[in-house]
């Protein structure tokens, strides 16, 4: 009888011990809030089709990162040596973003930009959002390096945001990455009202000259000249700019088809999966749910609005110096932020709303890819000043 009692007490003790290890016993309200966030991301990706390639891994990563567990198990993303921690090194040390840039370079066609190089300037103007967010972040009390990391959200480029924040404010990287990718997904919601606000009906109907045919020599020269010019002026942007232009050279050279396909296929896919999952998992409730994160989200939204405004107004300003027939449609100004190709699609959709026969997509792709270069240069400048 005593043996029986001992057995059951031992069993009960074991079960209660096991219960104390479970996530259910150690969960807090913060974890549940974050899990709801994760589910919302998955919902947006699956049902709304908003940036599913990013929001789905990030959403699931949030779920992974917010399953409560004991630190002694050494399985969490912040526990040295765990699987997630090893994968997270690629984010923390900035390995994934340049590899993603390699893939972006290998899948980007710079023809529109080469045929009409003045579109490059729109990509510069749209970086205004970065510095508007930087100054505002300083004004509300963030440190200069934190403000720089927050500002880069306005560049609308996830890998760049992760790269810069891992260097300047690693503790804020999760929130910054989530904000950057969320707003990139929300580009079709954020940008159209701003575009309509700063343009009139006549401007929205402007038809642009079709781009000229670009020779293969020009396409090959673009990444080489582009790299040398940008990297010599902003060497701190070398990891991003170097990989972007290298990827593009692989594509345009015509002799490295297999390498280009690997860069724009398996490499970018693997890095996107890893970056999405680990960034999501890094948003643990204890690190994420604070006033700083709220500030980052607010400033990120403002920076997108200012960046869109900057691009649109710059096109209007530039039109003052262009002859009739050469004028640009200000609706392509929003594409200066580097959310490729979503912001260019927004230009197309808004343009077609006012004139169904006016196709702006190809024209908008010019500032769109210029925005990628512009945001990488801006990140390099901030890194140079603040690191």
């Amino acid at each position: 009888m005593e043996q029986g009692t001992g057995f059951f007490s031992f069993l009960f003790e074991n079960l209660s011990n096991f219960w104390s290890y479970t996530g259910i016993a150690t969960a807090t309200a913060g974890h549940l809030v974050m899990i709801i966030f994760g589910l919302a991301f998955i919902y947006m990706a699956v049902k709304k089709n908003w940036e599913p390639m990013l929001l789905l891994p990030i959403g699931f990563g949030i779920l992974v990162g917010n399953i409560p567990h004991l630190a002694s198990l050494k399985i969490g993303i912040y526990e040295e040596g765990s699987v997630l921690n090893i994968l997270y090194h690629g984010v923390k040390n900035g390995w994934y973003p340049p590899l993603i840039f390699l893939g972006i370079g290998a899948m980007t066609d710079f023809s529109t930009l080469i045929s009409n190089p003045k579109l490059l300037l729109i990509g510069a103007a749209a970086q205004l959002g970065i510095f508007a967010a930087y100054t505002t972040a300083l004004a509300v009390g963030f440190d200069p390096n934190q403000a720089g990391a927050i500002g880069i959200i306005g560049g609308a480029d996830g890998p760049t945001a992760i790269f810069l924040s891992s260097r300047l404010a690693p503790d804020m990287m999760g929130a910054i990455a989530i904000a950057a990718y969320s707003y990139m997904a929300l580009v079709p919601v954020i940008q159209p009202p701003v575009m309509k606000l700063f343009t009139n009906h006549k401007e929205r109907l402007i038809r642009m000259k079709p781009p000229r045919v670009v020779s293969s020599n020009e396409k090959i020269l673009f990444p080489i000249v582009g790299f040398l010019l940008t990297a010599f002026i902003v060497p701190s942007g070398l990891p991003l700019l170097g990989m972007l232009f290298f990827g593009n050279l692989l594509k345009e050279s015509g002799v490295t088809r297999r390498l280009a396909e690997t860069a724009r296929g398996p490499i970018i896919d693997i890095c996107t999966i890893l970056i999405g999952l680990t960034v999501g998992a890094s948003t643990q409730a204890t690190n994420f749910l604070n006033w700083h994160s709220l500030g980052i989200f607010g400033l990120g939204a403002a920076s997108f609005v200012v960046a869109t405004m900057g691009g649109v107004l710059f096109v209007k300003f530039f039109n003052l110096f262009l002859k009739e027939g050469n004028k640009m449609n200000p609706l392509i100004g929003n594409a200066g932020v580097s959310a490729v190709p979503d912001s260019a699609r927004v230009s197309q959709e808004v343009g077609r709303h006012y004139d169904p026969t006016n196709h702006l997509l190809m024209h908008a792709m010019g500032p769109n890819v210029a925005g990628v270069i512009g945001s990488a240069v801006a990140a390099g400048v901030l890194l140079g000043f603040l690191s």
Binding site: A124, A147, A370
Partner: protein, 297 residues
């Protein structure tokens, strides 16, 4: 003869190795020194002696044996590091500690002088005792504060002492903090950064504008050559005088005057209905429609 040649070759190799050895010692660098050691590491005799750290920045092992260290500017040969001891080898990118305890019989890496905590001089001379490799004057240093080189090769006081390790000099203020003080509203950095971004992209714009012009010009030339058109005519297109334009305009006017927009007759178009019926359908015919062949005249 062969033996002499072989001997000469070996001699040359030996001399070359000596020359390269001598050259390598010039790459050595004084890296850190701790004159007032009261709580840092102890020497082989358990004493908190002052020490000198030497760094080998090369990709090869360097033997420091035969070189001189001194704390007297007028006596470069004050302490000669003994040769032939394995402990005087410094592996690539590694550090060697020399104890300045004033007792040279303690070993090859123990000097006959002590470093003064009230500031002083330290120099490393090559094995000829004349060629200076590096020297440093150091200020008075508190106990357990070293004098070390930072990444920019500048000597700084450091309370993070790193014997046989890379120096870790923590700046009191980071670059971002300094910038934050000088530019609290971020206006200067914003204007600077936007100027840089615009400059880079304007440069790219100008570069590719010129490249596009060049490309268009060469492709026009090629096209003209292929069609057998005079290249000068293509290049000078658009440079014709007003007389030519006037003549073309007159010719066009005369031509258009001959074209009648309104005719003086009435044209009536009557609609002819052909109602479909399977009875007259060619598709429904049982036989193939005869083919009409024209006779050659």
């Amino acid at each position: 003869m062969k033996k002499i040649k072989k001997g000469l070759f070996l001699l040359t190799l030996t001399l070359l190795s000596f020359v390269s050895y001598a050259q390598n010692t010039f790459d050595l660098r004084l890296n850190e020194l701790l004159p007032n050691n009261t709580g840092n590491i102890v020497d082989d005799y358990g004493a908190h002696s002052s020490w000198i750290e030497i760094y080998n920045p090369t990709y090869g092992t360097v033997n420091i044996g035969g070189c001189y260290v001194t704390d007297d500017i007028n006596n470069p040969k004050k302490y000669r590091i003994p040769q032939g001891d394995v402990s005087t080898n410094i592996p690539p990118h590694q550090y060697l500690l020399i104890w300045a305890d004033g007792i040279d019989y303690h070993g090859p890496l123990y000097t006959n002088f002590k470093l003064s905590a009230d500031g002083g001089y330290l120099a490393l001379y090559s094995n000829d005792g004349k060629t200076l490799i590096e020297q440093v004057k150091y200020p008075p240093l508190a106990a357990n504060v070293s004098y070390a080189k930072n990444d920019n090769e500048e000597w700084k006081e450091s309370d993070t002492i790193t014997p046989r390790l890379q120096n870790k000099l923590y700046e009191l203020e980071s670059a971002a903090e300094k910038l934050g003080k000088r530019d609290p509203f971020g206006a200067v950095i914003s204007v600077t950064a936007m100027t840089v971004v615009f400059s880079v992209l304007i440069l790219l714009f100008l570069c590719f504008k010129q490249l596009a012009k060049f490309h268009i010009k060469t492709s026009r030339k090629k096209a003209a050559e292929a069609q057998g058109i005079d290249i000068d005519l293509v290049e000078h297109a658009g440079e014709e005088t007003g007389d030519i334009y006037a003549a073309i305009a007159l010719a066009l006017k005369l031509y258009q005057d001959d074209i009648h927009d309104i005719e003086d007759m009435v044209i009536t178009i009557e609609r002819e209905d052909k109602i479909y019926s399977p009875w007259n359908s060619k598709i429904q015919s049982l036989r193939q429609t005869p083919e009409i062949r024209k006779r050659n005249k």
